[in-house]
Amino acid sequence: MHPLRVEKVVKQYGDKTAVNGISFEVSEGEIYGLLGANGAGKTTTMRMVLGLIYPDEGNILYNGKAYSKEQLRNLGYLPEERGLYPKVRISDQLIYLGQLRGMSKKDADQSLKKWLDRFDVPEYYNKRVEELSKGNQQKIGFIASVIHSPKIVILDEAFSGLDPVNVELLKSTVKELRDSGSSILFSTHRMEHVEELCRNITILHRSNVVLKGNLKDIKKQFPKERVILSTDKEVSGLESLKGVTQVTRHENGYEVGIASEAAGMDILHHALKQTNISRFEIKEPTLNEIFIKTVGGDSHE
């Protein structure tokens, strides 16, 4: 049984369909990627999962059960735009949020201290949010969403606006959460994070699901269209090879666009005749490329 199962959910705002029949399930200890351009319906989907708004059609099941107040306590939510009281002490507001989700004051306090230690910022306990930098506010926002050790965590753009050090820190924390058995619904625009974290993804485009499934399987569906070639000397005549669509010269070699995987062998033979090869790779498409391909250039409407 999946901790979170979304079945054919449809949501309409007036005449506009915000989400058109999305289905997915998140297993225990899995990070599920929900991707899409701005306005594709990610936030609406997340809000429905959170029970803030009800789907018009379809079901959302939590451990096989329908939504209820008790489920709230199993949910953790990090909204896209971090929400915290700017002028309230961090200890006060996080304990408050913990209590609202059914923790005792003592437990919430302990959990908060544990998390502050985890992020190496125990001195924030008595600070106000407005005193912190954006990155540190984000850490506090993250703590707010997981302080009650939820079974299902929903992270909307968890890493946006963070410096690389803090991204790594949060990323490793998310992985820890996953390894401890939480189911995480994860949305981001940074495809490299998805490739690193997610097993399964759904790509939404204009309210519709355009791509869904295991990340590895999805990648296999897309042809390998690039060859990375690093050589000692220059290689001439790559453009004239059959199946080569495009040749780009980089500092240490070439990036060659190919129509099919077979053209790769021709490139290798062609280059070997002229010089030594230090690197040859037929690249898998990146998720970034897949995303742009599926969603297309018209994502920013």
Binding site: G14, L50, L52, Y54, Y77, P79, G83, Y85, D92
Partner: protein
Amino acid sequence: MNSFWTVVGFTLKNKFRGKAFLITTLIIALIITIGINLPYIFSQFNSGDKVTSIGYVQSAQSEGSATGDQLKAYFEAQEKPGVKLVSYEDKGSEAENEKQLKQAITDKDIKGYLAFGEMTDSGFPEMTYKSEKMLAFELTSSIQNGLQVIRQGTVLKDAGLSSEQLALLNAPIEIASVQISATEGAGNLGEGKTPEEQAVNMGLVYFIVILLFMAIMITGQMIASEITAEKSSRVMELLITSVSPLKQMFGKIVGMFLVGLIQITVYVLVIIINIKLPHNNEMLVKFNIDLSQIDPMLLMYSVLFYLTGYFLFATLFAAVGSIVSRTEDLGQAVLPITMLSLAGFYIAIFSISSPDSMLVKISSFIPFFSPFVMLLRLGLTDPPMWQVLGSIGLLLVTIYASVWVSAKIYRTGVLMYGKRPTFKELRKAMKAYKI
């Protein structure tokens, strides 16, 4: 229920932690203290000026000086004279006399002096009051009064009346006014209100209406701005995923209610302590105000109307706060509610001298006005019981409706960001969210 009290507690705690709140409360308490003690402070400064000394020249030749002597005797005989006449010796010439009196003014022995002239038909000489002060109306009128009495005495002495008859002539005539109710009233059930009771009640109603208005407006505004702040800081998204919007809204309303109640209690305590101060107590006794005459029923009704009025306006403020995304837009958005409560407040305040007008009667049934206006009627007249109950009933029905509507708006509003939605957009959103 548990998380409801958590919200209440958090609201309370935050308010009392905030410096702004404590400072405002202190400042208002200070203003109240000063306000109550102001009459006493003024009286301290004025006490020396209470009796005005007036000079005149006493001389054998002048006919006028006899009148001066009579006046002096008259004011000395008074229990609390406002004027005291001081006689000065005749220096012979008019110029010398004038000089002597002017010197007395400079020395602050007297405020001014009376100069007597030719005898007139009135039986008194021509009189001129000379002083440095421009308007001495009060003074001249009390001198006039004195002369009136003196003349009456002179005329009546000749008529040969007995002293009893004289006393009878001078006895003041009094009309006692007692306000009664022809039907069964709600106030103190046809007992009627004596002038003292009325005076106390009028002051009390004035005070309660102002307090009610302030409490509703201040706490209402606080509710709206806190909700908007939660929305604009996006903490709202975390809150509504943790606790149901209804619990959250009522937690906030009840929390703020307690904040307001504590604030009012502080103010009332400050007032009571100040009134109990000996010098203020004396003042009250002097003006014949007996606070024990306050009708307990009126106080009970005040509490009732405070509660109902607060919850009616608070729910509206919460609803408005929930649809506004930015604090800057809030002032404009709450304007209709502010106007509504202002209207009720002004009807009550300006009708305090005519509490039985048609306007008052009608508006005491209109839910948004009735907390103020019905209180006025209860305090100053004895409205029939059915009218009071009807008004409260209407108020309760409106509160119920407003809670229902506000809760819906709140549930929708907290999820809507961007520009303030129109009513149509709000309804559409309500449908979409299935609220």
